[in-house]
């Protein structure tokens, strides 16, 4: 079986809306909404602010002030939100008074999923018919390449939220395969609107990080700082301009602090990649971790510091070389019933 270890929050959220038919009636939800609005006005009155312009952030601050809680789990603290955020959207009852279901695919068990597959396949056939027409008229087929890198398909959780019913892994992969097939056809531009419902924009550049400007020393030398970590080691590096290439760690020269060649190679890696070996001086402090972890932490710190000295394109090249990502690998914990993280106890026949 396959398991995701490092997951984004989107993947970890449980979709409660798809778990089954109605748990709360519509009238109940309406009443909750009215109560929420009344309560909001009362709260605004209590805090002495204008009830008309009382936003959700103000509500959160007021509740945190009136009901201070020391609980660790943020979801266990008192919260006051709009009922649509607390009670998730759910399917209404799918059959009429006589017991006859509304949708023709109700008895398949996954009516919205199968109806979606039917719709998508219909669009596919449409596109193929259009293509055949164009070929019959001897017109050239449009071949505009869709920008694959800028968009991604909906995740399984998002699809479940859209359809309001559970979607299994196999079903999800089949749906994505069908969408890919649709997109691969040359005349898929006709169904662009339909496809856009299932694709999301990915932020084009992963350069959401802000590059700090250079600071200047008393002597007028430009310098910049960076912080890095690896396993348990934490390092800060200060990179000075107009230097001779000397590197000092915790007040000791690197030749004495890192006797192993591999660590020194790691320290020089960012400088060598940018071609600036003799031009910068570096002073770093590092604590924690072991020999290799400290070297990795200093490498990350110096790469982050060098970002301020270098153009944006080179920063992008450093990112693609893997110099600016924090290494998430840590020592795996030991499990009960086993000798180590993976090693099991010796099997004894009796």
């Amino acid at each position: 079986t396959l398991r995701l270890v490092c997951t984004t929050t989107a993947v970890q959220r449980k979709n409660v809306g798809a778990s089954g038919p109605e748990k709360y009636t519509e009238a109940f939800i309406k009443k909750q909404i009215e109560e929420f609005n009344l309560g909001k006005r009362h709260l605004a009155n209590m805090m002495g602010e204008d009830p008309e312009t009382f936003t959700q952030e103000d509500i959160d601050r007021a509740i945190a002030y009136l009901f201070p809680s020391g609980l660790f789990d943020k979801q266990a603290r008192p919260v006051m939100k709009h009922p649509t955020e607390i009670f998730p959207e759910q399917r209404k009852i799918q059959w009429g008074e006589d017991g006859r279901p509304f949708h023709f695919l109700f008895y398949t068990g996954k009516q919205s999923y199968y109806s979606l597959m039917h719709e998508t396949y219909e669009k596919l056939l449409n596109v193929q018919k259009h293509q055949d027409q164009l070929i019959a008229q001897d017109l050239p087929l449009q071949k505009e390449k869709r920008n694959l890198a800028g968009s991604r398909w909906l995740t399984k959780i998002e699809l479940e939220e859209m359809l309001l019913e559970k979607v299994s892994d196999d079903d999800y992969s089949r749906f994505i395969q069908l969408l890919e097939k649709l997109v691969a056809l040359p005349c898929a531009d006709i169904e662009e609107k339909y496809i856009q419902k299932f694709s999301k924009e990915v932020p084009v550049q992963l350069q959401k990080v802000v590059i700090e400007p250079l600071q200047h020393d008393e002597r007028g030398v430009a310098f910049s700082t960076g912080e890095g970590k690896r396993k348990t080691a934490r390092a800060t590096a200060v990179v000075y301009d107009n230097g001779t290439g000397k590197i000092t760690v915790n007040g000791i020269d690197i030749l004495h602090y890192f006797p192993v060649l591999q660590d020194r190679e790691q320290l020089l890696f960012p400088f060598q990649f940018l071609g600036r070996i003799g031009k910068h001086d570096m002073v770093c402090t590092v604590s924690g971790g072991g020999r290799s972890a400290q070297a990795g932490a200093i490498r990350l710190a110096s790469a982050k510091a060098l970002r301020s000295f270098v153009t944006e394109k080179e920063v992008e090249l450093m990112r693609q070389a893997g110099l600016l990502t924090v290494d998430p690998r840590v020592k795996e914990r030991k499990k009960p019933g086993q000798e180590g993280p993976r090693r099991k106890f010796t099997w004894k026949k009796r």
Binding site: L4, P203, Q320
Partner: protein, 215 residues
């Protein structure tokens, strides 16, 4: 399609880092369609951190690092790396001796670069076809089977290392023995090449069972 990875600390959408500087200096026109798509994908997706054994300097070679890791025992990378550098030094010394003793016309044919010798020796040791055990009707047959590139490299390195660890005189050190083996393999002689030929002959002998393979 993103498949969840078994037990990786990274999100499956993270891509492998590209360390070599030369691959970034190619102008846009020379790239093929696939490479252009790869570039665009890299601009959007996050990238894993470069491991400590990888570096953009001229001296780091992925094959050498792989070989050093295979030679390493109980995580003693320092020792393995020093053995590797001593081996390369020993190869260089031997080749230089030969170079200085050789007559003028043969001086050009003698290869002095230890990295070139290492790569060529590994290439010469790689088997082309391998054997795998397939059980049919109770009996296990040795069926000739094509090997992937990774498997070939792994087998070549494994044979070299086991050969050096076992068939040596008690007093010879690892770098000495390894350099001998590498030079022999470079000239297509030596026990490792013999092992490769034996494997090839076995595969040729069992040709009749080749149809047992179903993949």
């Amino acid at each position: 399609r993103i498949m969840p990875v078994r037990w990786s600390r990274y999100n499956p959408s993270y891509l492998e880092p590209e360390v070599k500087k030369e691959s970034y200096q190619k102008p846009l026109e020379e790239l093929t369609e696939e490479e252009r798509e790869q570039m665009e994908l890299k601009a959007v997706r996050p990238i894993k951190a470069a491991p400590p054994s990888l570096s953009s300097s001229v001296f780091s070679d992925p094959m050498i690092s792989k070989f050093t890791n295979m030679m390493m025992k109980s995580g003693n990378k320092v020792l393995a790396r020093s053995l590797m550098s001593q081996t390369l030094e020993a190869i260089k010394r031997k080749q230089l001796e030969k170079y200085h003793k050789a007559p003028e016309n043969e001086k050009e044919t003698i290869e002095c670069n230890p990295y070139v010798i290492f790569h060529q020796a590994l290439k010469n040791c790689q088997p082309i076809i391998g054997l795998s055990n397939i059980t049919r009707g109770g009996k296990t047959y040795q069926v000739p089977v094509p090997l992937t590139d990774n498997r070939k490299r792994f087998l070549a390195m494994k044979w070299l290392i086991t050969e050096c660890r076992e068939n040596k005189h008690r007093r010879t050190l690892m770098p000495e023995k390894l350099s001998q083996e590498l030079l022999l393999a470079f000239n297509n002689e030596g026990p490792v090449i013999k092992k490769k030929h034996v494997l090839h002959k076995m595969a040729e002998a069992n040709r009749a069972y080749a149809h047992f393979r179903w993949w």
